[in-house]
Symmetry: C2
């Protein structure tokens, strides 16, 4: 099944989630609601809710319970985007003005705090304390990941391990717990919830590596902004680290990154991208992404044969597909 078909099939439930997302941030302070809704309306793939709903299908699926997991997870993702935009000083996201740019940094900061609070208060309607433990622990880990990203800006000495740990906290964890919490809330057995966690974690790692690859190998049309924005911002991603391992390329690439840093990210990353594309960095990163996809598929294997298993299988394959 194609991904679009899957979305079409899930449309009814996803629409419910969308309504609930809007409702959750609509009834308080005008400006906070406006800023939150602006963010919501900018769209997004709602991939976390999709994972929650599919994971829930392995147990006792009740949409009213699933909502209370899917909505908080999407909100937590959104809150992290608002705060990221402040940090990255980003003016647009998905072609829309960011909250910090349409309003200001102060409003973006409190909008993020507010969306966080809303996320937790919706999840708090569920009685299972394990859910709150998993959620709040993920929040802490995500902050650590964000801080690591700041610390490692323009750090060309970081190891691949450091990169992997960072994207684990920044991206993979939230996708992992989307799968896990969907299962926990649907009262699956513990093994199923753990397998789904592992599936989500590995898909999440592959997803972030692919995203980092796209920023260097994609066209402006595909990415929605000029390639190399990660690098201009100082975010040294996997293909860059792997390209730096090539002694032929290393000196000139280091030099180019240093120039970008000195120019405060104003310098065009075109030359650096050219060097990386000449190296094996892309292929090696691609291979690592595929290894994560394989692990994700392996985690699925032991699960009962419900339709959702096939859907998760398809999503993993889609994430694994090179489209740049």
């Amino acid at each position: 099944m194609k991904l679009l078909d899957l979305y079409a099939k899930m449309k009814g439930d996803l629409n419910q989630i969308e309504l609930e997302l809007e409702r959750s941030v609509s009834d308080d302070h005008v400006l906070l609601s406006e800023a939150s809704l602006h963010l919501l309306k900018a769209g997004g793939k709602r991939i976390r809710p999709v994972f929650v709903l599919l994971a829930g299908k392995f147990g006792d699926y009740r949409l009213d319970v699933m909502k209370r997991i899917a909505v908080p997870l999407e909100l937590i993702h959104m809150a992290s985007l608002v705060h990221d935009d402040v940090i990255d000083d980003a003016d647009t996201r998905r072609g829309q003005l960011t909250v910090k740019s349409k309003w200001d940094n102060r409003i973006a900061m409190y909008t993020g705090d507010y969306i966080h609070g809303k996320a937790l208060s919706i999840a708090a309607q569920l009685p299972n304390p394990q859910i709150h433990q998993i959620l709040s622990n993920a929040l802490v880990q995500m902050c650590i990941g964000e801080m690591e990203q700041i610390r490692d800006f323009f750090n060309t000495k970081q190891s691949v391990r450091q990169y992997l740990l960072r994207i684990r906290r920044k991206t993979a964890l939230l996708i992992a717990i989307s799968c896990q919490l969907g299962a926990v809330a649907a009262n699956t057995d513990r093994t199923t919830a753990n397998r789904l966690y592992r599936f989500g974690y590995n898909v999440g790692m592959a997803f972030q590596i692919r995203d980092d690859l796209l920023d260097l190998y994609g066209t402006e049309k595909q990415i929605g902004k000029p390639p190399g924005s990660d690098m201009r911002q100082g975010n040294i991603t996997l293909p860059v680290l792997l390209a730096l391992q090539d002694p032929q390329i290393r000196p000139s690439l280091l030099n180019e990154i240093e120039l970008i840093r000195e120019n405060g990210g104003q310098k065009d990353a075109g030359r650096a991208i050219e060097m990386i594309r000449k190296s094996d960095g892309g292929d090696m990163a691609d291979e690592l992404a595929n290894r994560y996809i394989k692990k994700a598929l392996h985690a699925l294997e032991g699960l009962p044969n419900v339709t959702a298993k096939k859907n998760l299988f398809d999503i993993a394959h889609f994430v694994g597909k090179r489209n740049y």
Copy 2:
């Protein structure tokens, strides 16, 4: 009993809370821990933990349970301070450099997020879902209060009611739920928890009004910074709103506030303070604070006669005392 004697009496348990506060932010990312500990070490009255512990004495008091309420509440307060300092562009707090000034705004933002997350993950160790509902709802309300404060900067047309709603969210609510959650975690009956909530709410309102009075009537030595800093920042507090009700003072005070606004808060607030001190604004605000204290004492009345009741009574009287 004097307040210092009460702190001395509670020293053993408060030291445990202090240790737990430090431990809670110590074991993760170096920079996040450093920034959080910097904030912790700057001290503070730990008034929220004091309320939690005293409220717990009305039920089944177990320090290991009380900790999981007292620590999160103090952490939530701290997180709001870090984010406030970003918004207020404040360089010092309690004589120490703020996180945003010692490091930068980005680190202050994530430090706040991190402390929030830590607070929630400690509270999540308690199984009672009511606790998570109360906590997360308070987080949402606090954000709304902060946003209202931003929206109402230099707004001389706001009503007293608007001011009261704002300080309710910004300050009183967290003190109210400190009392309530201390009781809930100690398994008191619902009436006791509700009475303690009302006690905390009213003390919190009086506390903020007194704090706002102090900023206009205190000496630089008492406040730790020059008087009028609220006004320079645009925060129009109760005594100002009440002084504006005096037709003799209103035009010149409005004019002076406008000048401060035009100067981006750089202008000395001395003249405005002088006008306010000539008005009845201070006395009227003082009277309102006393009314809240009376309501707080009234809420205490029906509670069982444990020592903590006398302690709460003393705290309310202390908050009620005019010391400027």
